[in-house]
Symmetry: C2
Subunit: 153 residues, 2 copies
């Protein structure tokens, strides 16, 4: 994330916090900065590792609680994937994911045709759509290589 977008997101965080009567603490600010700096859709634990280097003695609990709040505030979101740990996404613009089912890593992509997708009429299901996400599952180059090495053993 470039510096301008980063600063803007932090400003938005401060604005929303005041608006919603949330307190601006060091922990919250550093946790937000940490997620924004990590670009690979980190888990709570990944964020904790980074935060722990900056606030000695910070509690895991605080990271979990804060990430959940940032998600509620719409400043970050939870990524969709087939695994079992919750992972967060800092991009809130329209984009899509490649997800490697072998190493569980995400790759962000943008694609005209995918972007052109229109949310279909879901009135038949009585469902209010807030977001459309496209996910491409497969295997990344690195994992395919190691699979080949494994086979040729």
């Amino acid at each position: 994330m470039d510096e301008a977008a980063r600063q803007e997101r932090i400003a938005e965080f401060e604005r929303l916090s005041r608006e919603q009567g949330r307190r601006l603490t060091v922990q919250r600010r550093v946790i937000l900065e940490a997620v924004l700096d990590l670009d690979n859709h980190p888990s709570a634990d990944g964020v904790f590792d980074r935060v722990a280097g900056r606030i000695p003695g910070v509690a895991r609990t605080t990271v979990y609680r804060t990430l959940d709040e940032l998600n509620s505030m719409g400043l970050i979101s939870k990524a969709c994937h087939p695994g079992r740990v919750v992972r967060y996404d800092t991009r809130i613009d329209h984009h899509h994911h490649l997800f490697c089912t072998s190493c569980n890593e995400f790759i962000d992509i943008t694609d005209e045709r995918l972007d052109a997708l229109v949310i279909p009429d879901t009135s038949g299901w009585d469902f209010e759509v807030s977001e459309l996400r496209v996910q491409l599952l497969g295997t990344c180059g690195r994992c395919r290589q190691s699979e080949r090495k494994e086979e040729s053993k």
Copy 2:
């Protein structure tokens, strides 16, 4: 799932098992039948509940292991969602999901425009795509109703 499709999936399971040298046990057969019968993208625990009624004394472990195998065999798949428990999907035809972020339930949908989507060129990322999934996140009718009731209290 209609009876014909169900029988076909079970036959496929038996064929693949023999082909891959896996043993056909009562547990595996009943676990497969259970997932196929549950249409709401069950978690391992949900499958276990149903299986436990049919094989007294079956171990949770067995259900976890078997679901993982059925997934490897391509007979079922893991659903993508923002939560933390793994959930399975028995439909292997092309379809998409509505996912209610309030009650964590899936609704299967088919839509012409979504079906018409072409997997974009991902060669630039050195990534082999095996599947394209579209997910619509939002809130189902029931949850919107209870939210309204909550507000008017």
